[in-house]
């Protein structure tokens, strides 16, 4: 695992990372993985992170070299969308048995598995994922992949990110390293042009990138590679010929963006397609970067025209929700949303932000939030489940926007909730996506079930006294009293 250790050191020492730049040499060497507390940890492992980043590549066979848990418990669990191939949703694992582990048959089984996949599915490439157990027993997946690639004339890419190496975020970066080492730059495109860009960290969840791609095409930008959402292997293999890169989803793939700039001189910026102003800013940044790299400056005008037109439409659509949502209180509980223009848009239509998690935010982000919210008391690092439940059950927010992890805290507290993380069902990117988000907030808050579940059962809120009626000692009196009670109750509860 020496080379893996070196890789981990390398990705932790990320010069393009704001956090990292703020550290001294010693702290930098220690890396940024925080030690987990046994019995009080949450979140996925490095393998999980690597697979999240790579699995949406649609024409690749993703082969997990592991006992059943790593793949058997997790396959086909994400909502990325494909415009064509479906192979990525077929699950492949070596499903190691006790005998395989004891007899050291892992490498042989892996090699044969690659052969079976190649013969049956003819994939564009096979990605082989190492895991805790196969790392522990010392299976050399690099060697197996190299041999298989030679033997079968097929790209076979080792992904060295076993779970025990660290967190999901580390896995994201190790996956990016694998793409840099084995995929990007291996195919020369014959159609490279001055308007080609890459998008990094866009997963095309619920197909939401398809809300953005036509906007890019309208101003004349071509997406050479969107990594990983709806990507094909060859897109990524030839991604090194793009002229500019936009990195979305915070810093998950920052090492990929920076190294592509170093190796192939592709400038990058960090942006977001969530929220109206951020979408516009992203389009403008892309156009400017392309012009800087030699594209015709005319694209800037086209971009401005499109932005003006689309923003006007979106704001007009959002205005329709103002009456219904004005004054509603939103609790944003997610580490993932870096896009403060979502907050901006919600406030623009009169919603109030009563709290926001800043767990994954940078110092710069926090300053920005402070400015927007005008009150830093509404920022919290992380709220314990119990506190969150207490806050919501006292109805201190009208809706919580978060990821699946805290879904049931909101629901059990009988509070409207909307998923804005990876399991979400609706596309929220671009101008139309922002309108969709507000529409979903409106639907969630105004659903008639809240009036039903928040009312106690009728027999739990009877005025005192009625309960005692049936306990009168005299038998006849009891019956009479009971009849009276039933009559009165029926009268009170019935339709009139």
């Amino acid at each position: 695992m020496t080379s893996l250790s070196a890789k981990i050191q390398d990705v932790f020492d990320e010069p393009a990372c704001d956090n990292n730049r703020g550290k001294d040499a010693k702290a930098r060497k220690e890396g940024c993985s925080k030690p987990l507390t046994p019995g009080a940890a949450a979140g996925g492992c490095a393998f999980d992170g690597a697979k999240i980043v790579l699995q949406p590549i649609t024409d690749v066979a993703h082969l997990v070299h592991a006992p059943i848990a790593c793949e058997g418990n997790s396959w086909d669990n994400r909502g990325a969308a494909s415009s064509g191939p479906t192979l990525w949703r077929t699950s492949f694992t070596t499903d190691l048995t006790e005998l395989d582990v004891v007899m050291g048959q892992g490498e042989r089984k892996l090699f044969k598995a690659i052969r079976e996949i190649k013969e049956t599915y003819a994939p564009a490439a096979v990605f082989v994922y190492s895991t805790c157990v196969t790392a522990l027993i010392g299976d050399d997946i690099d060697a197996v992949c190299k041999r298989a690639a030679e033997k079968f004339g097929l790209a076979v890419v080792p992904i060295n990110a076993p779970g025990l190496a660290g967190s999901k975020n580390l896995g994201n970066k190790l996956a990016a390293e694998a793409l840099l080492d084995h995929v990007i730059g291996t195919v020369e495109p014959d159609d490279a042009g001055p308007y080609d860009i890459n998008i990094l960290g866009e997963f095309n969840l619920s197909g939401e990138f398809w809300l953005v791609k036509p906007l890019l095409e309208r101003i004349g930008i071509r997406v050479r590679a969107c990594i990983p959402g709806d990507a094909r292997y060859i897109d990524i293999a030839s991604a090194h010929r793009a002229r500019a890169t936009m990195m979305v989803c915070s810093s998950a793939l920052i090492n990929l963006a920076r190294k592509m700039e170093e190796r192939w001189d592709i400038p990058f910026f960090e942006g977001s397609f969530y929220g109206i102003t951020d979408t516009s800013e992203a389009l403008r940044n892309l156009a400017e970067l392309l012009v800087r790299k030699g594209a015709d400056a005319e694209i800037l005008d086209r971009t401005d025209t499109l932005i003006a037109e689309q923003e006007a439409i979106a704001w007009k659509k959002l205005e329709a929700y103002r009456r219904r949502l004005q004054g509603k209180r939103v609790l944003l509980n997610t580490g993932g949303v870096k896009s403060w223009s979502v907050v901006h848009a919600l406030m623009e239509i009169g919603m109030e932000i009563v709290g926001t998690s800043v767990k994954k935010s940078t110092v710069e982000d926090k300053e920005r939030i402070k400015r927007i919210l005008k009150d830093e008391n509404h920022m919290f690092e992380q709220m314990a489940a119990r506190d969150l439940y207490a806050m919501l059950s006292k109805h201190k927010a009208d809706i919580m926007l978060s990821g699946g992890r805290t879904q049931f805290i909101a629901l059990k507290a009988k509070t409207p909730w909307l998923d804005i993380n990876q399991e979400r069902q609706h596309p929220y990117a671009g101008y139309d996506g922002m309108v969709e988000l507000v529409r979903q907030i409106d639907l969630a808050i105004h659903n008639p079930i809240w009036g039903q579940v928040r009312e106690p059962a009728p027999w739990d809120c009877q005025p005192a006294g009625e309960d005692d009626l049936a306990s009168t000692k005299n038998g006849t009196a009891t019956v009479n009293a009971f009849n009276e009670f039933v009559g009165a109750t029926a009268h009170r509860l019935g339709e009139r």
Partner: protein, 460 residues
Amino acid sequence: MVRILRNTKSAAVNPLKSSQPLGAAFAFLGVDGAMPLFHGSQGCTSFALVLFVRHFKEAIPLQTTAMDEVATILGGADHLEEAILNLKIRTKPKLIGVCTTALVEARGEDCASDIANVKLKHAEELAGTEVVLANTPDFDGAIEEGWAKAVAAMIEGITRSGARTRQPKKIAILPGCNLTVADVEHLRDMVESFGLKPIILPDVSGSLDGTVPDRWVTTTYGGTSVEEIRELGTAAQCIVIGEHMRHPAKMLHGLTGVPYVVLQSLTGLKAVDRFVSVLSAVSGAAVPARVRRRRAQLEDALLDGHFHFGGKKIAIAAEPDQLYQLATFFAGMGSKIAAAVTTTDMSKILEKVPAEWVQIGDLGDLEALAAGADLLVTHSHGRQASQRLGIPLMRVGFPIFDRLGSQHKLTILYEGTRDLIFEVANIFQANQHAPTPEALDPFRKREMPDELRSSPLTRH
């Protein structure tokens, strides 16, 4: 005699299996105030947790010892100790159910003595919390095995041993993992209707039935109590549902002398009759009128439903006991088991599956073997095969993540069998095509034997 076809592939395609520790955690989740703990890397827990949440649509208590690279090299005992103590302080559980994973088992850790040391060293701090261990490496078994090991571990670790005064009305029931929340609720009602007092271990109907408690609880709320597990030895009789629960019942018998009877399935008229006879014999009570009425309803459902089942080709992929439960149900309705796929060759029940052969394998095998079948029967992951083959899918077992309410579906006893008949008949009715002249043309495909020709009324 059923032929068992061993798996010969190196690449499993679209796994049928979930992992063994997940099965163990599932069983621990059926105990009140429980907190299952995976001894492995954080991903092991995260994946199982997400899958549970997708299936139950509930917050699921499940924690990890968070093994990292250093712990993997130096040993995980410290992580295990720290996790147990942290859980005790933060969540005050009545039971911590430790499930090992492939990572610590491949290292060869002696978790049993690690836990014994923790208990000894922290006896005072851990008072009021039972800690039990299920050895459940991922490279062995699947949900059934993990579930059974967890129940055995609870009996071994918690139940008071030695011959006890038996309470004539108290019945211990050890249900297999293929019973839904609704099944367990219904089972309890049935047993109680004979004047008996059932103790069901595990009891997912108390903990995973989807309610809204009035406070935030970090452990399970509801299920078998630890006290009930402790007093299991005073039961007059133990009833086991599913072959995979034989081992825990044997263990209970060995520890306390409680006699047990194994019923392999509670689905299908004859199987339920057997169970009802056992209850009647144990309680000395006559079969209640309500139960007789349900039986009559099932008779009627058999009569109304059998038209839709006769000659149908069914492809099933499920863990052994559920495979047996469903295959006998379909065969009992006149259908043919065209393909049977399961997870392990270790279960004795496979010999009784009414099919020519049982393939040990995955959903890739099911897809290959099911061509020409009328119905696919497996969990939600069968959806891709169903789409590609154009054959309807009946969702059973775990996980079911793309339909709501799977836990409230009844699959056992007279009522559950009746419901299954209706469900399947309705799937067939929803997928039937109108007759066409081409399909009925006597000169087309006359060389094809009748049983291979599909009926136009039921093809899709």
